[in-house]
């Protein structure tokens, strides 16, 4: 079956521009997560959705970052006024449920480069 799909695979943008990163979770997975992975670091939590609502957005670094999941499936991470420090790999994961026992399935990530 299809796994978690993230598009684009790579994105290069200029400082100050707006970008959208897309995540298609595994069908039927109600929980969806966004992580940011800077070079040489482990992934850092950004936001978690249960269905359509953001159940935990405490990892979003500032108000330039926003994410939506309007129909409880596809999610879009939006970054306004991009900065060079936003350059990283953005990973999406989904799971069947939200409990600790439900394994996360990750996509291949989007590598964002801000020039």
């Amino acid at each position: 079956g299809a796994g978690v799909s993230q598009t684009p695979s790579n994105k290069v943008t200029e400082k100050g521009k707006y970008v959208e990163l897309r995540c298609d979770p595994i069908s039927g997975h109600t929980a969806l997560y966004w992580y940011r992975q800077s070079l040489g670091q482990g992934p850092e939590f950004l936001i978690y959705f249960q269905g359509t609502g953001a159940a935990d957005d405490s990892g979003l670094p500032n108000d330039r970052f926003f994410a939506v999941r309007p129909e409880g499936s596809v999610s879009t991470l939006k970054i306004q006024r991009t900065e060079r420090g936003d350059s990283a790999v953005y990973l999406c994961a989904s799971s069947l449920g939200a409990g600790g026992n439900s394994p996360l399935h990750f996509g291949n990530g989007t590598r964002l480069t801000v020039t």
Binding site: A31, Y33, Y35, G40, Q41, G42, P43, E44, F45, Y48, Q50, A55, D56, G59, V89, L91, A93, A98, G99, G100, N101, P103, L104, F106, G107, N108, G109, R111
Partner: protein
């Protein structure tokens, strides 16, 4: 807040030999999950092995096993009969029993030499 620490940025092993990757964590919870993930150059995080904290028995998955020391808050990964395909970045991760987010360590880059 929970933290996960991997003190070995890089490790190397000869093909067919055994290697152990270290991980320590900090939590005030008594029930939780611990994981090892593998991240090859494709960037996808692949689950290697999982341990429930309430289980005393160490988890094993084929050539992969863990040494879980709850009192010491230590969770090491042993890879036996290392293969070239094991070369990757390995991350230790913590998840609360009822929680949603994973907290990752900094990672260990494993090289397998032929």
């Amino acid at each position: 807040a929970q933290t996960v620490t991997q003190s070995q940025p890089e490790m190397s092993v000869q093909e067919a030999e055994t290697v152990t990757l270290s991980c320590t964590y900090d939590t005030s919870e008594s029930d939780y999950y611990l994981f090892w993930y593998k991240q090859p150059p494709s960037r996808q995080m692949i689950l290697v092995i999982r341990q429930e904290a309430y289980k005393q028995q160490n988890a094993t998955e084929n050539r992969f096993s863990v040494n879980f020391q709850k009192a010491a808050k230590s969770f090491s990964l042993k890879i036996s009969d290392s293969q070239l395909g094991d070369a990757a970045m390995y991350f230790c991760a913590y998840r609360a029993w009822s929680g949603s987010r994973l907290t990752f360590g900094e990672g260990t880059q494993l090289t397998v030499n032929p």
